[in-house]
């Protein structure tokens, strides 16, 4: 294609007057301005504040950290940035282990949620229209009560004198210690976040073209084979979306490990709380929060990429 052809194509495009171009651009900006300023005010500004505090050091007073800017005399300003909080996060094994432990707990809980959530979503997607709405309702129903109360209620099931142990007791089984263990934390996370796994997978499966399954069967594939090579790959975007929705909040989870976990449940959310409240060390707590954000954003970006790759593959 020569330059002249290209020129010709451009000429064929509808010409806009300067006025039209300006209003069009302004309209776009105006539309995008609302979410952008929301993001700036409620994410970027607080993030900058937290980042600033993470570069200070602890001091007992109000506020409980040193100022970054100090006026040494009338004409000069001194900027003091302390990196000690970040160094501490690297040198003190507590933080590294807490991050790793959080990621491992969140990942395990995500896998369990997937193993339970996928069959649920599959079943709901395959049921008749009348049942489907009822089943979906049942998945969403727990959200009608406070999250805190639901987690608290779980403890009445798992405690030594709770529902499960009372039931086991009827068969002469010694009470099991379930509370204040990692088991209870997994139960809590999976129970709380399961709907976030079920809904995206369901949305994906319900749109699945039945003709593809028929085609697979016509070509001689058994149901299991059809599931592995047709249904599962097509529902991958839903699986990834659901996994992200479970994994990300689970890493930073504080309430569940506090109410259900024991001293052995090492999670970064609890470390952050301890730094902030028990130790009144806001700068250290801020540094933990910043690093946590990075730790969460990284897997998120990777998963997002994997998802995009799958979606692109579908469109091709």
């Amino acid at each position: 294609m020569s330059m002249a052809d290209l020129q010709g194509q451009a000429d064929q495009a509808p010409r806009m007057t300067l006025y039209q171009r300006i209003t069009r651009r302004f309209g776009k900006t105006a539309v995008i301005l609302v979410p952008m300023s929301w993001l700036a005010i409620f994410f970027l500004v607080p993030f900058a504040v937290v980042f600033g505090i993470s570069l200070a050091i602890k001091k007992f007073g109000r506020p409980p950290y040193t100022e970054l800017l100090s006026f040494t005399d009338e004409s000069s300003v001194q900027l003091t940035l302390h990196l000690s909080n970040y160094l501490q996060l690297i040198t003190d094994t507590l933080y590294v282990n807490a991050y790793l432990s959080s990621v491992s707990i969140a990942a395990t809980a995500t896998i369990i949620a997937l193993l339970i959530g996928y069959p649920m979503a599959y079943f709901i997607a395959r049921s008749s229209d009348r049942w489907r709405n009822i089943l979906l309702m049942l998945v969403i129903l727990p959200f009608w009560t406070s999250f805190l109360l639901r987690v608290y209620a779980l403890s009445s099931f798992m405690r030594g004198t709770g529902v499960i142990n009372n039931f086991l007791g009827m068969f002469g089984i010694e009470p099991l210690v379930m509370m204040q263990t990692n088991f209870a934390v997994y139960v809590g996370i999976v129970y709380t976040y399961l709907p976030f796994m079920v809904l995206p997978i369901y949305t994906n499966l319900v749109k699945l073209d039945g003709a593809l399954l028929e085609a697979s069967a016509d070509l001689g594939a058994r149901p299991w084979r059809t599931f592995i090579s047709v249904t599962l790959p097509l529902s991958l975007p839903g699986i990834l979306a659901g996994s992200m929705l479970v994994f990300i909040p689970a890493i930073g989870e504080f309430v569940i490990p506090s109410l259900l976990g024991g001293p052995d449940t090492l999670m970064i959310g609890r470390i952050l709380w301890d730094e902030f409240f028990t130790n009144t060390n806001w700068p250290r707590a801020s540094a933990v929060a910043i690093v946590m954000l990075v730790v969460i954003v990284l897997p998120l970006t990777l998963m997002q990429r994997a998802r995009d790759a799958v979606v692109d593959g579908d469109n091709r």
Partner: protein, 362 residues
Amino acid sequence: MQKSLLLAASLTLLATTSALGQGVVNVYNWSDYIDEEMLTLFTEETGIQINYDVFDSNEIVEAKLLAGNSGYDVVVPSGFFLSRQIEAGLFQPLDKSKLPNIGNMDPAIMEATAVHDPGNEYALDYMWGTTGLGYNVQALQERLGEDANLNTWDLLFDVDTVSKLADCGVTILDAPNEAFAAALNYLGLDPNSESEEDLAAAEELLTSIRPYVRYYGSSQYIDDLGNGEICLAHGYSGDIFIALYAAEEAGADFEIGYSIPEEGAVKWFDMFAIPADAPNPDNAHTFINFMLRADVAAANVNYVYYASGNLAAQEMIDPEVLEDPSIYPTPEVDAKTFVLVARSPEFSELMTRAWTRIKTGQ
């Protein structure tokens, strides 16, 4: 020192009244720490509305005060937290001309709290108590023998003993100041010691019993002790009494006991103070003065089972409360209690790090 049903959840109680225009007073107190009828009475008498919020740990109060603009007019931190908060300028001096009921205060308590607040300038005692051991009598006797001594820190700090209790549940307050003071005292060291060697010794002791600890917490143990979920709790006196009465009311087949162990225990004071940036300091004074009234103080003691710093109230306090040595200790027991003083920031840092190490095993 008290608890709430849900961790760090706060309950806002709006006392209703027809009298308007007298403004409000925002009170931040330990949970389950007041006879709520007294709040209604206050509003009826003064026309001032009360916003009553509750907390379950000193650390939370301190975090809110340090952040500033907490909006509270009256807060009730414990003495050893209060002293460093006074130094940091978080409180305003009390205007004693607005507190005529101050004469009701027990001079001995005023003298004792002057350790935290020299000259009693910033704070007045609301209640005081001890930090000891609460236990399920039957569960302990079953495991340690009928005539086991339940009046000793050996229950918690002796590995042979505590390991026998691990199966029925042992808990420790998630409060490094309290836990280290108890451990130091058990080792025969100064509970207020700031020596690193002593800290290391206490850390070793606390680490040695960690495998037998169900959890570290400051409020959950009340419910758990009361319904037989745990059998030994390092906790605040009045909290253990809440568990005791809860178990009694539920008709439990066990009894709850509380000991100020013979080796000694922490004695603490919860103090009324007015934040420097309180929006309604006048109403704050009116509220504190009301709480210092003999009949009001007595009603609160009869309700929460903590000892009051109010001497005039004593004749209206139920004899069974006043004569209970675990609430109002006998002079012999009282002689073994000790008061914590504020730690230096440097030592606090070491201690809280050691505490994290103990709790997490990291």
